[in-house]
């Protein structure tokens, strides 16, 4: 017998009391009128009712598990209670459920919920969980600074973390992505596997998907296969994403774009002087082709991305940083370094870019261009750039650097004789640099690399170190 999925869905919703009175009445009318629908209805309702009717025998189902379940069924509540007691029973259900998941109060010892099954080039930050390969993991936090690590949950779900990522394991069906990027593969028994980010809740409905959470309050989900459900959205709605679809949520849950108190140039040991972009009239920012939400000069991150894919794709991003050297005697500089703090952008997935990404650092040779304004700079007015890329008449390539997939592990230092020479040539007390990524991506959802800007609430602003 042929019934549409939507008819089946209506019936199932009726069984769970999820239909409004009007919808339920409409279903009843259709069941009366349509013999085929009536047959399906009776089959479904009979199954549901038989399960209800023979509920006493169901508890035996839990005894056939090979593995001792940490959750014991509570004593069967007495049936045929007066109606007034039903709501009390429902409340009791909730209370019992809560106590099962309450660490320390639980009826069982803290369960092992996952195993660390793969760790490539991993470096971990101080973590309250073991990080050796094949470690059994309970609940707690994992902070991956470098590399790629894979966890296999007892529910069957597999989660791969790409550094830098901080993840909190809550249960075998639930974890919280505090910051960073992960991809998840969830087989059928683990459907419903849930990942929280600061902005949203991603519930698997049978799928492979990726989630990122940026340090600047944005989250992105991309479904590679199957389907996921997004909850926790501001409008209270639940969104469903199917294969190939993505969703980006910028909730700004993290402090956004505060102009920092202007920093000092710092004298360091060994004759080095460190100048952040927050010093004097320094500045930093980025622009994106298409200028969605521009200008981005006061954003907590500077984001760079490059794509060789279709030219219509608007996800090319370049950054500009300017240091105020007016207090510094530049002509005697011997060595120079630029230090950048990589931060998760919350945009895109490492899995969709090549193993290693090459970046270029350009010095802005046309000094008039040092006068760019953070609150006005757009894609078209980026110092020394045109739509196609850096303009050789106004910029000079000073250095290249590489970031492996899975992060560079901490601050990134760009150095070289060309850089020092460029500083010595300065005449107006400002030096500006353009940062571009030269490596493309295999998919428009490839990772957008990001570094902390001076507006970042916790990480360090771009730094020019001179000696």
């Amino acid at each position: 017998m042929k019934t549409s999925d939507s008819s089946l869905d209506r019936i199932q919703r009726a069984l769970e009391g999820l239909l409004s009175t009007e919808e339920h009445d409409a279903l009843k009318a259709d069941v009366i009128r349509d013999a085929d629908l009536r047959a399906v209805y009776v089959e479904q309702v009979w199954l549901h009712s038989t399960l209800r009717a023979q509920s006493e025998s169901l508890v035996g189902l839990l005894d056939i598990t090979e593995e001792a379940s940490p959750i014991q069924a509570p004593a069967k509540p007495l049936r045929r209670w007066p109606i007034a007691l039903w709501s009390a029973a429902a409340a009791a259900c909730v209370t019992l459920a809560a106590s099962f998941f309450m660490p320390g109060k639980g009826v069982s010892p803290l369960p092992q919920v996952a195993t660390l099954i793969r760790a490539e080039n991993c470096r971990w930050a101080g973590s309250d969980l073991p990080t050796a390969l094949d470690s059994q993991l309970g609940t707690g936090k994992l902070a991956l600074v470098e590399g790629i690590a894979t966890l296999k949950f007892k529910s069957g779900a597999t989660v791969t973390m790409e550094a830098p990522t901080t993840l909190e394991i809550l249960t075998a069906m639930h974890c919280r992505l505090i910051e960073g990027t992960l991809t998840a593969e969830v087989p059928e028994p683990a459907h419903g596997f849930t990942i929280d980010t600061p902005d949203i809740q991603v519930v698997d409905l049978g799928t492979k998907f990726g989630v990122t959470a940026g340090s600047a309050g944005n989250s992105q989900v991309r479904v590679f296969e199957g389907e996921v459900e997004i909850g926790g959205l501001k409008d209270g709605k639940i969104k469903r994403l199917t294969e190939g679809k993505g969703l980006h949520v910028g909730s700004g849950n993290t402090l956004l774009g505060q102009e920092p108190t202007r920093g000092e140039a710092v004298q360091e040991a060994g004759g080095w002087t460190a100048i952040p972009t927050s010093f004097g009239r320094g500045k930093d920012g980025y622009a994106r082709r298409g200028d969605n939400g521009a200008p981005m000069g006061t954003h907590p991150l500077i984001i760079v991305k490059h794509t060789d894919l279709a030219p219509g794709i608007k996800n090319e991003r370049r950054a500009v940083i300017t240091f105020d050297l007016s207090q510094i005697p530049t002509e005697s500089v011997q060595e120079a370094q630029i230090v950048l703090d990589p931060e998760p952008s919350g945009f895109g997935f490492s899995a969709l870019i090549p193993d290693e990404s090459r970046f270029a650092l350009y010095g802005v040779t046309d000094e008039k261009l040092d006068a760019w304004e953070e609150k006005q700079m757009t894609w078209a007015t980026m110092p020394g750039c045109n739509d196609a890329g850096p303009d050789a008449d106004k910029l000079r390539k000073l250095a290249e650097f590489w970031i492996p997939r899975g992060g560079s592990g901490g601050p990134l230092t760009v150095r070289g004789d060309e850089l020092a020479k460029f500083i010595r040539e300065d005449t107006n007390g400002f030096v500006s640099f353009v940062i571009v990524r030269e490596t493309g991506e295999t998919d428009p959802s490839g990772l957008a690399h990001a570094f902390a800007a001076k507006e970042h609430p916790t990480a360090r602003a771009p730094l020019l170190r001179l000696k």
Partner: protein
């Protein structure tokens, strides 16, 4: 010749034997026709009382189920009528219950086979799904409570339950299909 009045002790025993034999079927029948679990429990209780009161009228060799079905359907319709009436839909409700009851009667044998196959199919479910079934049907938790217990959203629990019932339904149909 007039029938002898039945021996009360015998009658009690017969009633209990028949009721035990058909208890689950009767419950499933009433539950099928009444959406609310609490109402269904009350009605089922009433049906059993009525069956007992009228048991004297039951002819020992006739079909207990057909008799019980008639009483149960009648009881359900009475209950509906005595409820605070939603004037718009009470006639809809009656027609609906009668239509579904007729369908249940017509398919009674097939459904009995399915109820038997169901136990086998339940045991084939993955552990996580069996747990959901136990929560939903043994502990009488609604999907909201299950959402809390399993740390899923209500919608995800609904989807999962639908899928589990669908899997069970397909399994049951395979079980009772004649061998090829």
């Amino acid at each position: 010749m007039a029938a002898l009045p039945p021996d009360p002790a015998d009658q009690t025993e017969t009633y209990l034997r028949l009721l035990t034999q058909h208890d689950r079927w009767l419950a499933a029948y009433v539950y099928s026709l009444v959406a609310s679990a609490a109402d269904a429990d009350d009605i089922l209780q009433e049906v059993k009382v009525t069956l007992w009161k009228q048991f004297a009228k039951f002819e020992p060799d006739s079909n207990f189920r057909a008799w019980a079905r008639k009483i149960a359907t009648h009881q359900i319709l009475n209950y509906r009528r005595s409820e605070k009436k939603r004037s718009v839909s009470s006639s809809l409700d009656e027609t609906f219950i009668e239509a579904v009851a007729a369908e249940l009667d017509q398919r009674a044998d097939a459904l009995d086979l399915k109820a038997e196959a169901l136990n086998l199919c339940l045991r084939k479910l993955p552990e996580a799904h069996r747990k959901i079934v136990v929560w939903r049907y043994y502990e009488d938790c609604g999907i909201e409570e299950i959402a809390v217990k399993s740390e899923r959203t209500v919608e995800a629990v609904y989807r999962l339950l639908s899928r589990i019932r669908q899997v069970l339904s397909e399994c049951v149909n395979r079980q009772i299909a004649p061998a090829p």
